[in-house]
Amino acid sequence: MEFGWTAEQDEFRERVRAALDELLPADWDEVYVPQSYASDLQVEFSRTFCAGLAERGLLVPHWPKQYGGNDADDWQHFVLGEEMKAAGEPRGPQYMNVNWIGPAIMRYGSDAQRREHLLGISSGKIIWCQGFSEPGAGTDLASLKTRAENRGDHYLVNGSKIWTSYARKADRCFLLARTGAGRKEISVFLLPMSTPGISVTSFPGLIKDGHLNEVFFSDVKVPVSARLGEEGAGWKIITYALSYERVGVTRYHAGLEALNIAIGKLKKQSRFDDPVMQSRAGMIAAKFEAARLLTYRVVDLRVHRIADTAEANLCRIASLDAVEDLMDFLVQYVPDCLTGGDALLEDYYRINIPAGITGGTNELQLDLVARRALGMPGRT
């Protein structure tokens, strides 16, 4: 058992930090980060930034060499994610590409799809959006109604998606659509957002601009060759893909960073000598450290090729607990963070408003751990 980083992992982290220093503009913290990683500004910037990462071999180091990677282990992939998250996720939406869209295409895609998409992702210039949620189907994805009707040589897609982050700027959509009457008769399609019949509208909300979009599909013709895997295999594919997303979000890192920013601000104002405030900050840090170790454990299981029963779900539950405490701390002790007083903390707060909902609600995570890890019975 070993809780430290190897020299090689430390060296890799330094390489990532050096790349961040080189690639981020001088006004990154002041201008870009406060706009959120889903903003048009950051989404567009990600094309330059990720291309720069790709040139340095730091965009998809964990991918196989044949697809532009370096066969690096899961820990390197994870260190990369930690550093990106701590820097405000300058990869923008492309974290999805490298974490789970690419791996899903590698596993389930045809040779033509791999050729078409993987080199695009590993070059860092392609923006994807995730066409999953609908007004009536969020966590309960199997209820989705967007339909892809098989017309022989193509599918005809009709329906709508909502909460589709980055959709305004996306080049492609990883779309889930119903291809049969059965609850889980769902398929995945990889389609250009420029396909005729697709339109996007945005609407305001509590979280920052760029996340809240609705995408409409009106008689969209999609070739059969754009289907990922077999017809009806969508459930299996997204289960695989989301298992990567669940551990892909290193919330503890951003949380500890935000806590440090808040503490720094309070110290400057000579307010951090209040022991009540200090103890609350300490307790929050302890919770984030717990989330960190539970997250590391998931990566460790992956490295050792040990089946993950529900450990990824458990680390999300732990992270959320800490995130909610920190949000409360911010409102209580740095109240001007939501009224223009601190753009970074406002961004942290607002991006985390749906933290218990995105990627499967907290209740779903709890259900999955109860069932898979604790062997508790389902409802009869």
């Binding site: 809780f3 103890s279 300490g282 840090a285 302890a286 717990a290 458990l314 409802r379």
Partner: protein, 304 residues
């Protein structure tokens, strides 16, 4: 980073589990007791070298033994003897059981004092190493699941050996030890309650079928799992911050563990015959030690 035990560590854990399991049961006469200290098992652990692993192998290995011992319904004193004392005394061994005392209030009842051969007393800067005279200790009855006792007359600290400037190290390793002990007790309490809610039927269903129970059980499982790794990281690194984090996390979640696990055990959980209290009321006893949650949290904040 590697969360898997090495072959040697796995062998150590398996071996200590074997000896603990062979002596896990409470005797009939102790079924209604708040705790039961197994003197025979304590001696066996010492004879077989398990209380010396901190010296022979390191703090991480000692913490693994502490965790396994804390899972048992019968009580042994491992944390102070095997984990804390070697950090203060180096190669010198100390006859256990050892009690850890806060010197600011020696008149109160102290955990493990009735069974202790020695006490390590936090005097602020120094540590006093005090041999315990059994006739100077009176047992204090308590629902807390450790033997508690107080001195009949104040101990003569002038006669005790002084470990100069070691109090900081004592508090540091006390926090590591209480985290490890809490991790083992929490894991055992969760496993015990999980078994109960799967067996016990209410309204025609096992208690475990209800989502309100499932979600809180998962949260307790999460706490126990996180605590296991936090405690082991603190033992591995020897860093003060890691010890503060582990102890703070343990102490801020003990309320949840005690309240939820007893809640799901219903009225059975308030009887001593139902073994849950052997772990939950160990946790309660550990909740305020080494400064308690707030002191730990303040120390974490000072690091930031």
């Amino acid at each position: 980073m590697n969360f898997q035990l090495t072959e040697e560590q796995s062998a150590l854990v398996a071996a200590v589990q074997q000896i603990l399991q062979d002596h896990a049961d409470l005797p009939q006469s102790a079924r209604a007791a708040s705790h039961w200290f197994n003197e025979t098992l304590q001696a066996l652990l010492a004879e077989n070298g398990y209380l010396n692993v901190g010296r022979e192998f390191g703090a991480l290995e000692a913490a693994l033994v502490v965790i396994e011992a804390a899972k048992m319904p019968v009580l042994t004193e491992v944390a102070a003897t095997a984990l804390i004392a070697p950090q203060l005394l180096g190669e010198e061994s100390l006859e256990g059981p050892v009690a850890i005392l806060n010197g600011r209030d020696l008149s109160r009842a102290h955990r493990n004092l009735p069974i202790a051969r020695h006490a390590l007393i936090d005097l602020g800067d120094d540590v006093a190493l005090l041999p315990i005279e059994a006739e100077n200790v009176e047992t204090v009855p308590s629902i807390l699941a450790y033997p508690f006792g107080r001195f009949r007359r104040p101990p003569d600290l002038r006669a005790a050996r002084r470990l100069r400037c070691q109090a900081g190290a004592l508090r540091h390793w006390w926090r590591v030890a209480l985290s490890a002990e809490s991790a083992g007790a929490a894991q055992a309490a969760v496993a015990f309650t999980l078994n109960h809610v799967k067996q016990r039927h209410v309204f025609g269903h096992p208690v475990a079928v209800f989502q309100s129970v499932q979600h809180r059980m998962v949260q307790c499982h999460m706490v126990a799992t996180a605590l296991y790794y936090l405690a082991l990281r603190a033992a591995w690194s020897g860093k003060v911050y890691d010890a503060d984090v582990a102890a703070c996390y343990a102490q801020q979640h003990i309320k949840k563990l005690v309240v939820d696990l007893h809640q799901f055990s219903g009225a059975m959980g308030v009887t001593n015959e139902f073994a849950l209290h052997l772990w939950t009321y160990r946790l309660r006893a550990l909740q305020t030690e080494a400064g308690g949650m707030v002191e730990c949290a303040l120390d974490i904040a000072r690091h930031r």
